[in-house]
């Protein structure tokens, strides 16, 4: 019985969350530091996981398996493949930045009751989310995954509804109502998705008799477990619906702009860069592996939805007047790419999609956090309230531009690699889809540059004339992200090496092979 590394990776933030929440009201700063340390510790553990993981090794590694709820056929089973490792690493990596970026977001304005401790709560909730996300990345037991997939909604819900931007164009009252609307919308959308998935999970149990991903996949492979076509399709739809809400995929996306718009920038990053990844990740791990045939059956529709998401999200981003909502719609477009890559059923597509999850996490974090710093300075989310910022705050503007360029996936920055892989992967199997998707890169340039032009360039507006440039803490948040963006853009091999074997496995589990190029086909 070796050291339960994966459990530790999730347990540390969980314990940290409890500890942070327990910090007395007066010791606010202590809570912040505690949270930061815990998140760093988690990062360290994740690094160990990354090191201990052997790309050439078994399908699932560092596995743990304990009896849990025998009556439901549920075991506490953890294990990571390349895809999971990458995403665990991403999560553990982003949380410290999120904590750091949100350093002052939860300082109580008015001292309410002695026992009202928003700051402690804020950081505790973030850590709780981290713990749950990590477990759901590591879980190889469908039920275990489901539990945390659902449970993470609650802390997210409090993060969205409980903490908003300091100043708000319509005043605090309107802000709080909008916030709680956004929070409820987020929760209900995902809860409905989750409950429908619950029905499918139960159905899966009735069919399979247990929840172990590995066992079910094996049983399906060697024919001991037969699933009627209709059953498989229904179950697939049940699962996919939940993931499509989480991802989010058009037309189930409308909760995201509200949530990201109302939440503070760090929380918005938490949503789109970390939590939503669970949805796309789950498509790759559960939908494809548990229901390969149904996945193939549904592919055309899903591809269309993904394409719509790409174009639609981008167009709406162009039409936004609110910085954060713009980023949100941009994310919707990007999630379209990820889904496209997953269901293109080619190794390029799926490796690209995985890579895309990581890169999108980093790039959105960069863009959104800088946007958050910007908003916190001016106290408005409206693009129209800015102008000429680059004159007064060149560094802020510069990092913002880099974040933007990453979002429009400029070659040399990380997102380009993944986006191009997805495009190629799609194109090789569905040329038309690939071509339509490339429209996305033009539109991405449009909304990003328009955003940059309206906020950063032009004559300096009086309101921003006194705006300070990035502070040390903020620079400490952004700089590493930028470095990472460039590094992974120039040298993504480390990630692809981890991801490729897992994708190869998934491809074989779904009985897929890459289409051959014409010249070889000719031979």
């Amino acid at each position: 019985m070796s050291f339960p590394l994966l459990t530790a990776t999730a347990a540390l933030p969980a314990v940290g969350a409890v500890a942070t929440a327990a910090v007395p009201a007066a010791r606010r700063t202590a809570a912040k530091w505690l949270a930061l340390l815990v998140s760093l510790g988690t990062l360290a553990l994740a690094a160990v996981v990354l090191v201990r993981f052997d790309p050439g090794g078994a399908r699932y590694q560092l596995t743990e398996s304990h009896a849990w709820i025998a009556a439901f056929g549920v075991r506490y089973e953890l294990g990571v493949d390349g895809i999971a490792v990458a995403l665990v690493a991403l999560t553990a990596l982003l949380i410290p930045f999120i904590v750091l970026a949100g350093w002052h977001d939860a300082d109580p304005l008015e001292t309410g009751s002695r026992r009202w401790r928003p700051t402690q709560g804020f950081f505790a909730l973030i850590l709780a989310v981290e713990a749950m996300v990590i477990v759901s990345f590591e879980a190889t037991d469908v039920f275990l995954f489901y539990i945390f997939f659902e449970a993470m909604l609650i802390p997210m819900y409090f993060l969205i509804g409980g903490f908003g931007d300091r100043a708000h164009e319509h005043g605090e009252e309107a802000a709080s109502t909008q916030r709680s609307y956004a929070a409820v919308k987020f929760l209900l959308y995902n809860l409905v998705g989750g409950l429908i998935m619950l029905a499918a999970v139960i159905g899966l149990y009735v069919v399979a008799g247990n929840f172990s991903l590995t066992e079910i996949v094996q049983a399906r492979a060697n024919g001991t477990l037969h699933m009627a076509t209709s059953t498989e399709r229904w179950l697939f739809l049940g699962f996919f619906f939940a993931f499509a809400v989480k991802a989010p995929l058009w037309p189930l996306h409308t909760w995201l702009p509200n949530a990201m718009g109302e939440a503070t920038a760090p929380v918005a990053v938490l949503i789109t860069a970390v939590v939503d990844k669970v949805g796309t990740f789950a498509m790759l791990r559960f939908c494809l592996q548990l229901f390969p045939d149904a996945s193939k059956w549904a592919t055309p529709v899903i591809l269309v939805l993904a394409l719509i998401s790409i174009v639609y999200g981008a167009l709406l981003a162009v039409g936004q007047r609110d910085i954060k909502r713009l980023v949100a719609y941009a994310s919707i477009s990007h999630f379209g790419f990820i889904v496209l890559g997953i269901f293109a059923m080619t190794s390029q597509g799926q490796s690209g999609a995985t890579l895309y999850m990581v890169n999108h996490g980093i790039s959105t974090a960069a863009l959104m956090l800088v946007a958050g710093f910007l908003i916190s300075r001016r106290g408005s989310r409206l693009i129209a309230d800015y102008g000429g910022v680059q004159k007064v705050a060149p560094v802020l503007a510069g990092t913002f531009l880099i974040g933007g360029l990453a979002t429009l996936s400029l070659p040399g920055l990380a997102p380009f690699v993944s986006e191009f892989l997805v495009l190629v992967g799609t194109f090789t199997r569905y040329p038309a889809a690939g071509v339509v998707a490339t429209l996305g890169i033009v539109l991405a340039a449009l909304y990003t540059l328009v955003l940059y032009q309206r906020t950063m360039t032009g004559p300096v507006r009086p309101e921003v004339s006194a705006m300070p440039d990035l502070r040390a803490r903020e620079l400490l948040v952004v700089a590493p992200l930028v470095v990472l963006l460039i590094f992974l853009g120039v040298y993504p091999k480390p990630v692809t090496d981890i991801v490729n074997p897992a994708v190869r496995q998934t491809m074989s589990d779904t009985h897929q092979t890459d289409p051959k190029p014409e010249v070889e086909a000719a031979k």
Partner: protein
């Protein structure tokens, strides 16, 4: 020796990194660092050039494999550089002209507090451009391709506080992105066709693939080229790009970046040779653009915009040549190089003029400047002669060859293209002469007294034209020398031809008309053009306020209405589309969900009323329930 190749790129890249990250503490020396590093890159280039000359003609290709970039199963993208005669030519042009313009900028940007960043961007551009021409596979080329796009975006919008500049920058990037779409699709096509997108394998397998595929790839590459090289229909951005500082216009939008399209086509010669339809389209695009640009150039009063139009047209020549296939490739590149010299020179000249005229760009407020800025006048004049193809100067050789080749294409299209090229020559002569006359000859319209500048433009009052400092004039002189002798030098014993032939291949076309006739015709056109221009702008004084002009003129002033089209169709249409989509998203997609929630609420409210508080009505519901229960149970047994 191939290990030096990476250094070519590394030097300016380093410069960019240092200058951009370094911060204010480098403000004092930043420009020198930039210049130094670009020059270093030039030196390395020269060394490599010498090295190449030292080798036999057929193994002048150096490959440097740095590392594997994106490996996913069969998709293998490497960071590998290829230095052959073609890329060597570009390296020298880029680094050479680039270094000169760095030098020039030291003076030009002297009073700009963000000069350090300017040099950072310039270095970034050099690095990207070198990557573009040195890449050994199309994906890496794509990186450079977008890199130069980024640099040009940053530099066009360098004076970001000017909304016009910011807009122009955005426009340039967007239009280029459309082109980039073409390039990325081309790469995907290559991958699906050849299973690779590295030059070697792709060109190697051209034989075994259907012409349809190749044509598709070719057209996609052409789309990319159109975007980058401002060819119709994606030319609209170049004019606005003149918002950038003049050195930028000289380097990026005249000498180097805009010619990347030509490089792409020539580099992909293998594909185009096998796809005649694609080639035809290329020639058509080239022909149309060379006329289009020329016409626009004739109408503009803004000196830089006039030159921009000319650039467009000259690149049209190159694209046309490139489209002609083996008979044209070499001359396309040759014209590209010579054009690099004289057009850069002209732009620097224009910059120098503006420098002396309080950044005035309207040629109608120039006039008689030759005695105030003699050096500028001479260098500019030489560039002028070169571009119009004055016998003996660079332009003459390169352009003449292209026109010949055009006729040599044979058949009707041969005649049409050749004709177009000739007309273009005439127009070139016309608009360049116009620029020359309006700027350096005639009365001094800038004097406030002459009422020309009565509406005191940008408040400077009357300008005091003066010659620019040496640091600016020296580069101009160097370029002038280039524009005078380059052509002759290249053509001496077909040096250039032999140099490039191993890469691009070459074949003599059988022209229906003899080379001499062509040359003659060209001369005639030239004379005609100059004469007309003289008649219009030399003999009678130029009106300070632009006359209404003919319909064509007015259209030409507005880039032949192309911008209006864009504005109405794309911009307006796009705005409407997005706005309506936002509405749809809010009312429909969101509405459905909220609607369902609301309907549940309504239902709840209605059901709630049943709970009316009267015990007896509860009893009724129980009684009814019981009755139903009994009835249902009986029914179940019945069925």
């Amino acid at each position: 020796m191939e290990n030096l190749i990476a250094l070519l790129i590394a030097a300016p890249l380093l410069g960019a990194a240092v200058l951009l990250v370094g911060g204010r503490r480098l403000d004092a020396v930043g420009h020198w660092i930039g210049t130094l590093l670009s020059t270093a890159s030039f030196v390395i280039g020269a060394v490599l050039f010498v090295g190449l000359l030292g080798r036999s003609a057929d193994d002048r290709t150096l490959i440097q494999h740095l590392y594997t970039w994106i490996p996913v199963e069969s998709f293998q993208a490497d960071v590998t550089f290829r230095l052959d005669q073609l890329s060597m030519t570009f390296v020298l042009l880029i680094t050479g002209v680039g270094s000169l313009i760095h030098l020039y900028s030291v003076g030009y940007m002297e009073h700009d507090e963000r000069r350090r960043r300017f040099f950072g961007y310039l270095n970034l551009f050099l690095a990207a451009m070198l990557l573009l021409v040195l890449a050994d596979n199309y994906l890496l080329l794509y990186v450079g391709w977008e890199g130069v796009g980024l640099a040009s975006y940053l530099l066009i919008g360098f004076w970001q506080h000017k909304p016009s500049a910011a807009t122009a920058a955005k426009k340039a990037f967007l239009v280029n992105r459309v082109g980039d779409m073409g390039l990325s699709i081309a790469i995907m096509l290559m991958f699906t066709t050849f299973g690779s997108f590295a030059f070697g394998p792709v060109f190697g397998h051209v034989g075994g693939t259907s012409e349809g595929r190749l044509t598709a790839i070719g057209l996609m590459l052409l789309l990319a080229a159109c975007g980058k090289s401002a060819q119709v229909p994606l030319q609209s951005w170049l004019g606005d790009a003149m918002e950038g500082p003049t050195p930028v216009s000289a380097l990026i939008h005249a000498a180097t970046m805009v010619t990347a399209g030509v490089y792409l086509i020539v580099r992909s010669s293998a594909i185009f040779n096998a796809a005649p339809d694609a080639q035809l389209v290329v020639t058509v695009v080239g022909g149309v653009t060379l006329l289009f640009g020329a016409i626009v150039g004739c109408a503009k009063d803004d000196i830089k915009k006039a030159l921009a139009g000319s650039t467009m047209s000259q690149i049209g020549y190159m694209v046309l040549a490139a489209g002609l296939g083996p008979i044209g490739y070499v001359f396309a590149i040759m014209h590209l190089v010579t054009h690099g010299f004289f057009k850069a020179g002209l732009f620097l000249g224009a910059g120098s003029v503006m420098h002396g005229m309080n950044d005035e760009v309207d040629m109608r407020r120039y006039g008689g400047l030759r005695k105030y800025m003699p050096i500028t006048f001479i260098t500019f004049g030489l560039g002028y002669l070169a571009i119009i193809g004055f016998p003996g100067l660079s332009g003459f050789f390169s352009k003449d060859k292209i026109i010949e080749a055009a006729f040599a294409k044979g058949g009707t299209e041969g005649w049409i293209l050749g004709g177009a090229a000739l007309v273009g020559a005439a127009l070139t002569a016309f608009y360049m002469t116009r620029v020359m006359l309006m700027t350096f000859f005639g009365e001094e319209r800038w004097r406030t007294g002459s009422g020309a500048a009565a509406d005191g433009h940008d408040g400077h009052g009357e300008p005091h034209p003066h010659e620019s400092p040496g640091i600016m004039t020296i580069p101009m002189m160097v370029l002038a020398v280039g524009s005078v002798f380059a052509g002759f030098f290249f053509n001496l014993g077909d040096r250039f031809l032999h140099w490039l032939e191993p890469v691009t291949g070459h074949s003599e076309g059988h022209s229906p008309v003899s080379a001499l006739t062509v040359t003659g015709a060209t001369m005639v056109c030239l004379v005609v053009g100059v004469a007309v221009a003289w008649a219009q702008y030399g003999r009678k004084p130029v009106p300070a306020a632009a006359p209404r002009g003919s319909l064509l003129t007015r259209a030409a002033r507005r880039d032949l209405l192309q911008d209006d089209f864009n504005h109405v169709v794309l911009v307006r249409g796009g705005e409407h589309l997005t706005r309506s989509l936002v509405y749809v998203d809010h009312t429909l997609v969101d509405g459905v969900v909220n609607g369902t929630a609301a309907s549940f609420g309504g239902l709840s409210g209605r059901l709630r009323r049943l709970q009316n508080g009267f015990a007896r009505s509860y009893a009724v519901s129980m009684f009814g329930g019981a009755a139903l229960l009994v009835a249902a149970t009986l029914l179940m047994r019945a069925v």
